[in-house]
């Protein structure tokens, strides 16, 4: 699997990220790093524990990372979730969560597959 195929699989825009970061090596490095980031777990845990503030920050971080990496699909769903959490609208947030979960899992799947093919 190439990095471009990985981007296609996770619903991202490889052309965009390469244009901004200018180096395939850098893109690869950060894509692989993405799965190690704890924000997603923090998001889920915080929502479970009802900590909306913490959940907001976690969602915000995910959104920021996705924007930087041009993971467009997850960026869109996590951004919507971030705004719901910022507004303190927990009900809406819980409605939005499943999309984020499925987008996140899709992203991690694609990256894992890519990782296995390059390592």
């Amino acid at each position: 699997m190439t990095i471009e195929e990985c981007y296609a699989a996770l619903g991202g825009n490889y052309g965009d990220v390469l244009g901004r970061l200018r180096s395939e090596r850098l893109v690869q490095k950060f894509v692989l790093k993405f799965v190690d980031d704890g924000s997603y777990k923090l998001l889920c845990d915080s929502l479970d524990g009802g900590n909306i503030q913490e959940a907001f920050r976690a969602a915000h971080t995910i959104k920021g990372m996705c924007q930087n990496l041009a993971f467009d699909k997850l960026a869109k769903s996590s951004s919507e979730l971030t705004e719901a959490l910022r507004a303190g609208d927990e009900a809406n947030a819980r409605q939005l969560l499943p999309t984020v979960v499925s987008d996140y899992e899709q992203t991690v799947r694609a990256i894992t597959e890519y990782k296995n093919s390059v390592l």
């Binding site: 990220v17 970061l21 200018r22 950060f30 790093k33 980031d37 920021g64 990372m65 930087n68």
Partner: protein, 697 residues
């Protein structure tokens, strides 16, 4: 940024990945320190903010967010010297606005472009570096201005002192004391909110406290005995006179130094109990500066020796002041004075600015006395007169034309003898337009001279050149030396010039003649042998790819002609031949008389040499006074014999010999069949019996 030390950047972001992306973008060029939340960032900054050149700051973070960091940086006064660029996924304009309001320098939105982050970071760091440099320049300038201010005040106050007959140290003491007491008083109380700058300005202004005495009549000011009531009344007006002088400086009315000086001048004879003059102010209605100067004035008078009294000790002086014998003062000030006897003795004993003061003394001496008596100014005028006389004397004696020009007056002054020599007036207004000078020096002389002088520098303002001047009907060579007068401005401008023109015509002619003689044959004016060789070798070296040929010829039966018709006739033939030579070649070709009747032509050609050489040969054969002149000539081409002068000359000589052998009155181009004809040295032997002129070389 620099090869010596990398600038350090602090990256603050809770996401390790985000920090890592930024660090990777900036890695190599900068030292990176990372913090994962606001609290950590602040603790790093508090410890070593000076080490960082820039902060990249995320907004949404746990513990303390980006706004919190900005607010703290404001509180700690870090934000002015350390630029912060926000990096955030926040897009709401209210958030961005808030960041800017809190002092952020720039805002980069996620997702960001690596090259833009890099560019903005570099730009911001450069901008701040520039700003720091500018700040230090301005600080220097302010410093310089203060220094100049203080110098001017010193000069002014010394004028007053000298008229006043006071010791030169009084003003200095009052100033030092004022500074000291102000500092002490501000330590004791915050009743008088004075900054350090205020204190230094008041101290400088203190020197002007008696400036009004300039307006008091000499005989009252310096009266040896006590003043009458009438005189005392006049004397007392010095405080209002001083204030009026300062008040009339309308342009500087808002200048802090002038404002403080006004207060001091007007109110330094007020008393804390309201019984002073001129306005009867009391308590703190009297500005603190004036209060302190009043006390310093009295204290220094008591502790210094005067003609009419010896110096009192600090303790005695304080005692007298406290007893109210010398006025009424602010108790707080008295306390400061009484408490610091030791310190005051020390600062007054310090020999401050000794050198400066000695210089000042000389300067102010002169200023003060020009008004009081005639002694100094007489002497100065005499000295000036003497210098002028000396200058005029030497200027009149010299053959040199000396001149001087000032841009301000657009006037040129010429030394008397010089003007006479040139036939112009001693003073020429607007010399650029003087027809007479144009005629003498040349049309555009003025513009050219100024342009040349402007190319000189204040360090090397002198230029020299030789030029022919047209005077008394003849052109004569002059050696001209001119020195630009540069202004002190930045950048400096040419303000005028001085210079002289020395007639070097005879020497110039002699040297030109000597040069000519060294290189030319005196009879024919052609180049001589050595010069011809030198020029040909230069030509061969500089233009290696050109086609050259060298021709040698001598005049057939020249010796016989000489013997028959005499040497004068021989000379005539030689001259005639050389004239024909120069006419038949181009100016760039070289012709020379090698000696006796032997000549040389060195020329360049493009294609076929034959028609050229035929033409030259033909033009050289002529008749002089019925004597038919014919020549024998040999030619060597560079492409046949090689590129050295030696070869060319030798082969041409062989070809010449061949021509002679073949019956004279002809020319031959050298070819290798002539190689083995007799060597040059034997030529004479062969030649001699025929009766031709011997070769001289």
């Amino acid at each position: 940024m620099t090869a010596m030390q990398k600038e350090r950047i602090l990256i603050v972001d809770d996401s390790e990945m985000n920090r890592s992306i930024l660090a990777d973008i900036l890695y190599g060029e900068f030292e990176i320190t990372e913090a994962e939340n606001g609290i950590q960032a602040l603790s790093i900054l508090q410890e070593e903010s000076g080490k960082f050149s820039l902060v990249l700051l995320d907004i949404v973070m746990p513990e303390m967010d980006g706004f919190g960091v900005l607010a703290e940086m404001n509180r700690l006064n870090l934000i002015d010297n350390l630029p912060v660029i926000m990096v955030s996924a926040e897009t709401a304009s209210s958030q961005i606005e808030r960041a800017y309001e809190l002092g952020a320098t720039d805002f980069i939105m996620r997702p960001f472009d690596a090259s833009i982050v890099h560019r903005r970071v570099v730009n911001t760091i450069l901008l701040y570096a520039k700003q720091k440099k500018l700040i230090s320049i301005i600080e220097d300038q302010i410093d310089e201005k203060e220094r100049v201010n203080s110098l001017m005040v010193d000069i002014l106050s010394h004028i007053v002192e000298f008229r006043n007959g006071e010791s030169g140290l009084h003003i200095q003491h009052v100033r030092v004391l004022t500074n000291f007491l102000l500092t002490k008083v501000c330590e004791k109380t915050d009743r008088y909110p004075l900054s350090e700058t205020d204190i230094s300005i008041i101290s400088i202004a203190s020197a002007l406290h008696d400036i009004g005495k300039i307006g008091i009549d000499d005989h009252i000011l310096n009266k040896p005995g006590p003043l009458t009531d009438e005189e005392y009344k006049i004397m007392k007006t010095h405080s209002t006179i001083g204030a009026r002088i300062l008040d009339s400086l309308t342009m500087y009315k808002d200048n802090p130094l002038v404002r403080r000086a006004y207060e001091i001048c007007r109110w330094h004879h007020e008393r804390y109990d309201g019984k002073g003059y001129p306005d009867g102010l009391s308590g703190d209605k009297i500005p603190i500066g004036a209060q302190i100067v009043a006390l310093a004035d009295v204290y220094d008078a008591l502790t210094s020796e005067r003609v009419y009294k010896k110096a009192f000790s600090h303790e005695k002086a304080v005692e007298m002041i406290l007893e109210g014998k010398c006025g009424a003062f602010n108790p707080l000030l008295l306390k400061c004075l009484a408490e610091n006897g030791e310190a005051i003795r020390n600062i007054l004993a310090k020999p401050t600015e000794k050198v400066l003061r000695r210089e000042l003394r000389g300067f102010t001496d002169a200023l003060a006395h020009t008004k009081a008596g005639e002694v100094a100014s007489d002497r100065t005028l005499r000295l000036l007169d003497y210098e002028r006389m000396k200058y005029n004397f030497f200027a009149a004696m010299t053959e040199e034309i000396q001149f001087e020009y000032s841009v301000a007056t657009d006037t040129m002054t010429i030394s008397p003898l010089g003007a006479k020599k040139l036939g112009v007036e001693e003073v020429v207004v607007s010399p650029e337009n003087s027809e007479k000078l144009k005629e003498i020096i040349g049309g555009d002389w003025f513009k050219t001279l100024i342009a040349t002088l402007e190319k000189s520098t204040p360090e090397k303002p002198e230029i020299r050149y030789e030029k022919q001047l047209h005077c008394n009907g003849e052109y004569r060579w002059h050696n001209i030396i001119v020195r630009a007068i540069w202004t002190d401005e930045i950048p400096p401008k040419v303000d005028g010039f001085i210079g002289k023109a020395v007639d070097v015509h005879d020497a110039h002619i002699t040297i030109t003649e000597l040069k000519e003689n060294a290189t030319h044959d005196p009879l024919t004016d052609l180049l001589n042998r050595a010069e011809a060789r030198a020029q040909i070798e230069r030509r061969l070296l500089n233009y290696p790819n050109h086609k050259y040929a060298l021709a040698c010829f001598d005049i057939d039966f020249f010796k016989q002609a000489n013997d028959t018709y005499g040497h004068l006739f021989g000379d005539k033939v030689l001259k005639s031949i050389s004239q024909r030579m120069t006419r038949s070649i181009r100016a760039s070709d070289i012709c020379a008389r090698m000696g006796g009747d032997e000549f040389l032509i060195f020329f360049e050609y493009d294609t076929d040499i034959n028609p050229i050489i035929a033409r030259i040969f033909k033009s050289l054969c002529c008749s002089v006074d019925k004597f038919d002149v014919t020549i024998s000539m040999g030619v060597a081409e560079m492409n046949v014999v090689g590129e050295s002068y030696e070869e060319l000359f030798h082969r041409a000589d062989l070809a010449l010999y061949h021509s002679k052998q073949s019956g004279r009155n002809q020319y031959h181009l050298y070819d290798d069949s002539m190689k083995d004809v007799l060597p040059e040295s034997n030529l004479t032997a062969i030649d001699a019996p025929v009766g031709d002129e011997n070769k001289e070389d």
